[in-house]
């Protein structure tokens, strides 16, 4: 039995109806209105967006296996996102000394490795613990154009990497009873952080998160990725005392709970 279970699939008929009704609800806004409407929806906080999707993922149990399944689904998302971007040609090959392409080829290679590693860790594709790859829509119903518009691709890449860092951190407690799995998860976690730092620099930002700011040029829809990042008290110690709140919050990345990440991921799962 898959512990990461999916909401019961709707019939084709109801799926079409729900998709249709979602489109209808935006038709009155026109294209600009549609974009604005989506932009105002924090990731996953839109009941409408979630309920319209038939195959939303749900929170995995707070167990080591659940944590690995959860991680695998996130890695599926990142892996497919970068593979599609590399296929699409949206990433400039020659600007900045070819930096962007080199960066995303490296990130894509790591995410593919993480998918393979986690599948193996769950016992392979025939294991009862294996979870299949969901179907992703990185355009979120047409609101984003990440494979035709490079800034949009970069913005989503930043959101996915910063989410990944927070998501793995949030699973650490679920792995505390399995030291080897915990170590492996930490070893992926720090790779996601290296990625996040570099993607943020490609976008002209610092590699670390100041307060709970998503950063210049990030769609408001990505704010859920940064909610709660502005913490300046750690175990009773005020990290803002020495150099201010921005530095204090930058020095610590905050975890996201499983459900918070599920809500973010579900925006891209159809």
């Amino acid at each position: 039995m898959n512990i990461l279970k999916f909401i019961e699939t709707f019939t084709d008929d109801s799926l079409m109806r729900s998709t249709g009704s979602r489109r209808d609800s935006f038709s009155q806004f026109g294209n600009i209105g549609k974009t604005l409407a989506y932009a105002s929806i924090p990731f996953g906080l839109s009941a409408m967006a979630n309920k319209a999707l038939a195959k939303d993922i749900t929170a995995t149990p707070a167990t080591p296996i659940g944590a690995l399944q959860f991680a695998l689904t996130l890695e599926y998302l990142e892996n497919e996102f970068y593979a599609m971007a590399l296929d699409s040609g949206v990433i400039p090959a020659s600007e900045n000394g070819g930096r962007d392409l080199k960066v995303f080829q490296q990130i894509a290679a790591h995410e593919a490795d993480h998918v393979s590693f986690l599948i193996a860790g769950l016992g392979g594709t025939m294991s009862a613990n294996f979870v299949p790859k969901p179907t992703f829509d990185f355009t979120v119903g047409g609101a984003f154009d990440p494979f035709g518009d490079y800034p949009t691709f970069l913005a989503l890449a930043q959101a996915f990497e910063d989410t990944g860092v927070r998501a793995y951190k949030g699973q650490a407690g679920n792995l505390i009873t399995t030291p080897d799995l915990l170590t492996a998860a930490l070893q992926i976690h720090s790779v996601e952080a290296r990625h996040a730092s570099e993607v943020r620099r490609l976008r002209g930002l610092k590699g670390w998160i100041s307060n709970d700011e998503r950063g210049a040029g990030m769609p408001e829809a990505t704010q859920a990725v940064y909610a709660g990042e502005g913490v300046t008290v750690q175990a009773g110690y005020n990290t803002a005392t020495l150099f201010g709140a921005a530095a204090g919050s930058e020095a610590y990345d905050e975890p996201l709970a499983t459900q918070q990440v599920v809500d973010i991921a579900n925006l891209f799962i159809v």
């Binding site: 900045n96 000394g97 070819g98 930096r99 080199k102 960066v103 080829q105 490296q106 990130i107 290679a109 790591h110 995410e111 593919a112 490795d113 993480h114 590693f117 860092v165 793995y168 951190k169 650490a172 407690g173 505390i176 030291p179 080897d180 915990l182 170590t183 492996a184 930490l186 070893q187 992926i188 976690h189 720090s190 790779v191 996601e192 952080a193 290296r194 990625h195 996040a196 730092s197 570099e198 620099r201 610092k206 590699g207 670390w208 750690q234 175990a235 009773g236 110690y237 990290t239 020495l242 150099f243 530095a247 204090g248 930058e250 020095a251 610590y252 990345d253 905050e254 975890p255």
Partner: protein
């Protein structure tokens, strides 16, 4: 050494022993005398609860378990904080580094000093007797390192940040408390962001931010190392003697 460690029975004399050791920590000579007296009675392995940091055999030992790991992290953060403090206060800091580099190095200075002071505060609050169990402020020596050399400073920063990532990744499994584990997790990803940033400054148009020298090319995993592998590296800069006999 570790094999000789026995589980200590809690008994009323433990508190007296700790007080005794606390006083002994004031001077090395006194500590030596106290330890000599201890070995006559009940041997080194029963000297103390080995989970607690403190002076053993005249040298500060990091201890084991959560206090040991936190004290280990405190030692590493002291090193990073001291290094960046010297970097940003070097006489030619403004001339050696461009705007972007100065911003990164100043941010890292802030973050690492915050980490150091955080561990000091957290340990002071959590240790049963911080006056004897809190790791003292360490002294450092960077040898011939030229703090006005961009190349040398960035290369050292890269080594320190990569080492920090490997250290936290390796120490996670030693932590018993979920709260402490999450705290370590909050810090290690920032160390990884730092490592990526320094690597980008050194070799910007490349995949070095998460290079094949640190990320396994078949598993996609970063480095994780036990304290016994990390401390000889960090110890190259640390002149204050301490031991980590009860950490793997």
């Amino acid at each position: 050494m570790k094999n000789e460690v026995k589980i200590h029975e809690v008994d009323p004399s433990l508190n007296n022993r700790r007080s005794f050791l606390k006083l002994s920590g004031l001077t090395l000579v006194t500590a030596g005398l106290v330890l000599a007296g201890c070995s006559d009675n009940d041997n080194d392995e029963e000297m103390d609860d080995t989970s607690l940091p403190g002076i053993r055999n005249g040298v500060f030992d990091l201890g084991s378990g959560d206090f040991g790991v936190l004290t280990y992290a405190y030692a590493l953060e002291q090193l990073e904080a001291d290094f960046y403090t010297k970097v940003v206060n070097a006489t030619s800091f403004n001339a050696t580094f461009n705007d972007t580099e100065r911003q990164v190095l100043t941010d890292l200075y802030h973050h690492e000093v915050i980490h150091r002071d955080f561990f000091k505060a957290a340990l002071s609050g959590a240790l049963p007797d911080p006056s004897s169990q809190l790791l003292p402020s360490l002294a450092f020596n960077y040898g011939a390192l030229n703090f006005n050399s961009r190349t040398e400073v960035l290369a050292t920063a890269k080594a320190l940040e990569d080492t920090g990532v490997a250290a936290y990744n390796g120490a996670g499994k030693l932590i018993k408390s979920p709260d402490y584990l999450v705290l370590a997790g909050k810090i290690v990803s920032v160390e990884a962001r730092h490592a990526s940033a320094i690597r980008s400054l050194i070799n910007p148009n490349s995949k070095d931010f998460a290079g094949d020298d640190v990320i396994n090319t078949s598993t996609g995993l970063d480095v994780a190392q036990d304290p016994s592998k990390i401390l000889p590296i960090a110890g190259g800069f640390i002149t204050t003697k301490f031991t980590a006999k009860y950490l793997p």
